[in-house]
């Protein structure tokens, strides 16, 4: 089943067009990888799925994005509520530096003023495979953790809001190989319950974690198919050139 249906999506930063009429589905409870060289529009693409794109100065957009048949760019849609359904994890681990581990997990729930909901925090940390490592120091600052733990804390923070979709914008590019492997294991675990869209620089990562892969080049969707097919028998010569390392 299709979670998202993207139709002729074009996006601009001021006068520069970064996405050109992208149309593709995103399947429910699958991992969709977006690959392509730097500046190909892959980050902009996922930022259009939770309406983060419009927060940038000079950002503009045309086309439609349907989330379960509801156009998320319809005037009556509240982007704040949409972002609770479609969570996002960023490239650089960015736990809030002024908050403890516990408060970071609960930051999306705004429970800090009232009694904090420890059950939600524990369940989110468990889902992010971080609970065992932090359960004894929940009141320590979030930034006291290692880079990989910080990124899993950010994933836990996203999970605590109980989203349906998780967008990941190169979540491992700032992490070492071991931390990367842990996050990838986590993605395997999460895809049972969530729809995941991951932007990645690494083709190996796309091959390891995703069911579907989309190859973007200069704002154009060049190829979109099953991951195994895209990496073994790409139909487009540009895709083949990219995955065999001829450019990018």
């Amino acid at each position: 089943m299709n979670k998202f249906e993207v139709k002729q999506l074009s996006a601009w930063y001021r006068d520069i067009q970064v996405l050109q009429s992208i149309s593709m589905p995103i399947l429910e409870q699958q991992v969709t990888a977006i690959i392509g060289p730097s500046g190909c529009g892959k980050s902009t693409f996922i930022r259009c799925l939770n309406r983060m794109h419009e927060l940038s100065e000079g950002a503009r957009l045309e086309g439609h994005v349907y989330l379960e048949n509801q156009n998320i760019y319809a005037p009556k849609v509240d982007p704040v509520l949409l972002r609770r359904r479609v969570g996002m994890v960023f490239q650089k681990p960015n736990p809030f530096p002024h908050l403890s581990i516990l408060d970071n997990v609960l930051s999306g729930l705004r429970l800090t003023q009232r009694p904090r909901n420890l059950e939600i925090a524990e369940s989110a940390l468990r889902k992010a495979a971080l609970w065992e490592e932090v359960k004894d120091r929940l009141e320590k600052p979030g930034i006291s953790l290692s880079g990989g733990q910080q990124q899993r804390l950010c994933i836990a923070r996203t999970l605590a809001v109980d989203p349906e979709v998780i967008l990941m914008d190169e979540p491992c590019s700032a992490l070492d190989p071991i931390a990367t492997a842990r996050v990838e294991d986590l993605i395997h675990e999460l895809r049972k319950n969530y729809t995941i869209v991951i932007v990645t620089h690494s083709m190996q990562q796309a091959a390891r974690v995703s069911n579907k892969t989309a190859f973007f080049l200069s704002g154009i969707l060049v190829e979109f198919s099953d991951t195994s097919q895209l990496f073994t028998s790409p139909t487009h010569p540009r895709t083949e050139d990219y995955i065999t390392g001829k450019f990018g």
């Binding site: 983060m52 650089k92 960015n94 809030f96 600052p141 950010c154 996203t158």
Partner: protein
């Protein structure tokens, strides 16, 4: 290597010279005023006899003035900075406002005094009162608070705001939960700069009409008032030598008040930074 040494020495001299002069001045003042410094100096009213004169009404007046103007200027200043940094779209008009606010911070304080005299004393009919003085001081502090708070908001990296938005927060929640807490140390530093500037100001208070002799302590917003710099100025202008000693002691009290305020600010800032 030689040039390196010369440059290093020059830079060192650039610290020592002004600092040394300042310390010399302070030292001389302390030396002069110390004999008059006592509990009764702090708790007595001014007198015609220099050795009996105290600074009580001026000290209380200054503290009241500063508390009132701080209570007015800091919330308004932070709110204005929030609007400019977080809400306003960057148009020609908003740039014009920003430029003007920055320029206002450099306007001579006597101009604010004249503004206060015209608006608060005359138009709003508050008279030569504590509230007129406090409102004028608040005006004087506002541009400093706004500029410093804006700088503090600018230092909060954009990606923290984005992270908060991505969790489904509204802009208000993002400002309240992320932007303000992270900018707080910077806001505090700026605010204390503004308070320090205001507490030493004399000119606007002279213009607004602070009393030079007070036999009572201000007890209402519309009562007359005086302040430490006014009292000191008044003493300095007397011919008798004894009043010069009073003035020196008054300066010690003023500098001491400033010192305490700064300590409080540093304490607060460190607390918020280490959270």
């Amino acid at each position: 290597m030689k040039l390196e040494k010369v440059f290093r020495t020059l830079c060192l001299a650039a610290i020592i010279l002004p600092l040394g002069l300042l310390l010399l001045l302070l030292g001389q003042l302390c030396f002069q005023g110390f004999e008059r410094l006592s509990w009764s100096f702090l708790t007595e009213f001014p007198s015609r006899k220099a050795e009996l004169a105290g600074i009580y009404p001026a000290l209380v007046g200054s503290l009241m003035l500063i508390s009132l103007s701080t209570a007015l200027a800091i919330p308004i200043g932070i709110a204005a900075a929030i609007y400019l940094e977080e809400y306003a779209t960057k148009t020609f008009f908003s740039h014009l406002i920003e430029l003007n606010v920055a320029n206002l911070a450099g306007v001579p304080s006597v101009i604010y005094g004249l503004l206060g005299l015209e608006i608060f004393v005359r138009m709003m009919n508050f008279g030569h009162s504590l509230i007129s003085g406090a409102l004028t001081m608040a005006l004087l502090m506002l541009p400093v608070v706004i500029t410093a708070s804006r700088e503090a908001f600018k230092t909060v990296p954009m990606h923290y705001r984005e992270a908060c938005f991505a969790l489904g927060s509204t802009q208000f929640q993002t400002i309240k939960q992320v932007v303000i807490p992270m900018a707080l140390p910077g806001i505090l530093t700026g605010s204390i700069l503004a308070i320090s500037r205001a507490i030493g100001e004399t000119a606007p208070l002279v213009v607004v009409g602070a009393a030079t002799y007070m036999a009572f302590v201000p007890d209402a917003l519309d009562s007359e008032f005086t302040a430490l710099p006014i009292q000191i100025f008044n003493w300095v202008s007397r011919p008798q030598k004894g009043f010069l000693i009073d003035a020196a002691a008054g300066i010690i009290v003023l500098v001491g008040t400033l010192f305490v305020l700064n300590l409080v600010a540093i304490f607060l800032r460190n607390r918020f930074e280490h959270r």
